[in-house]
Amino acid sequence: MSIEVHHLTKTFGTFAALRDVSLTVLSGELVAILGPSGSGKTTLLRIIAGLERPDEGSGPILFHEKDMARRNVGDRQVGFVFQHYALFRHMSVFENVAFGLRVRARFSRPSKQQIRLKVQQLLSLVQMEGMAERYPGQLSGGQRQRVALARALAVEPKVLLLDEPFGALDAKVRQELRRWLRRLHDEISITSVFVTHDQDEALELADRVVVMNQGAVEQIGTPDELFHHPKTEFVMSFLGQVNRFHGRVEGGKVLFASITVSTPRLEGAPAGHARVFIRPHELDLDLQENGRPGLKAFVLRIYSAGPTVRLELAAESGETFLAELSQDRFQALKISAGSTIFVAPRDLRVFGSGNGR
């Protein structure tokens, strides 16, 4: 089932949580809403679920082209997973999962055997067989979140909404659960939307990502599009690590940190003050000047524990920035803290005062 929302606005008192947000989620898609805290992402999700009402004058909320804006939460057939699980603590895992079936009106309620069977199926789907008699207090965070997911799926929702589903878990469990959720989604192919502030999570898990900032949508696209073709400065700096320099655009060239670079990637930046973005892995390092426009920099610190080596560098103009290079290249260059090297940008993006937000 597809989800469409049009021109949503939501204000809490004087705070504009959402400003004219429109969004389409295709049937069977897994979409991430990504943004810093306070960007309105959770509010958007809660409005889709029906837990919050949009302001008067907002457009419709369409589930498979049917307007749901006036429907109650219970009638929307959504599964909602909360950041802090919101499990019923006085109920066993089994009772928690069965809850949505037990509260149905008598004529549509499944029989005891059917409920038992259904719950067992769901528990094996979320890999929690044998835990049915446990209570939420006896489970780890990851297990609780899986129970919460099984509980949400029990009512056979048409749409699955997850609010920071891995937010309260530690890094390792997060990664495992993330991949597991992706596989689960491919298996049951239910239209899903999840909210996160973690860019890695969004880029790794989602088919498409909606980047939000200050209550508005910055850009919608596949993880690839967003990472390689960010439309705004915010998207550029929010996704992945990036170095930012202040510079000027003059005659089709950009000047920053004592170098001048001509680049086709001026993104329409007009002449004048501009901000230059370079990702750490887009910097080439060398011990000698090699003819390309490069800047001289001092090595401040080296982080070599990892698949790549990261260097913290200081330009002559005083700006500090990060560069990333392979372990092999690092060995070949024989750099140590305090060395002087030459840095040439392979790629960069320029945002002027006109198109940057």
């Binding site: 939460v73 909360f82 037990r102 006896q138 029990a154």
Partner: protein
Amino acid sequence: MRISLKQHSVLPGFGLTLGYTMVYLGAIVLIPLSALFFKTAALSWGEFWGIISEPRVLASYRLTFGASLLAAGINAVFGFIVAWTLVRYPFPGKRLVDAAVDLPFALPTAVSGIALTAIYAPNGWIGRWLEPLGIKAAFSPLGVTIALTFIGLPFVVRTLQPALEELEPEIEEAAATLGASRSQTFRRVILPAVLPALITGFGLAFARAVGEYGSVVFISGNMPMRTEIAPLLIITKLEQYDYAGATAIAVVLLAASFLLILLINLLEWWSSRHHRKGA
């Protein structure tokens, strides 16, 4: 919470604190209570039975326990509503209302008794409206129940408040997304979660009501067989220097209260069995 003497603890002094607990409980609670039993022992079984099976005494037990249970029950319902309102909704004057809940704690019981009597008496503010309806509030078992409800309210509200605060609003939202109606959410999710606290509050309100004397004697009218509570009978016997008779009534009151409170505690323990499993 199994603490053995051998278990190492960051805070030492288990022996000291346990010793202190025993001495303290002994001096303040157990020794005075045992004196009650010694005094009663002066009576033979026959005399003892004769005193406690007097129709007037039996009637007072019925009133004391009946009205106390009823009052605690009323408080469980309305105290829940008060606690819920105070926890869930912001409204102007909330702190004042919150403080007003404690008034029955703070007021000397005789003062509350006189105030209640003045209001519920046939010519009082509320009593005069009840009179034409054929409802006699003051000087009737109803009046006793009103007084006991008044003094028991804070116990229910104050024990429920923390339990309700602990309940995240998300679990209600979760229930709603799963298709539960409001009443289903209340019955299946909210009530079971706060039931242990509710039972504790009920137990405390009940215990307080059984022992209440000051506020009741004014509003009840103290008519033998009708509106005489057991604590009043004890005082009456004491005034007649019938110490053994007074203690006999008291022993039964004590034993019955102890059994009922034990039962309530067991119920509370049973209803909170899931909360103790893990966090």
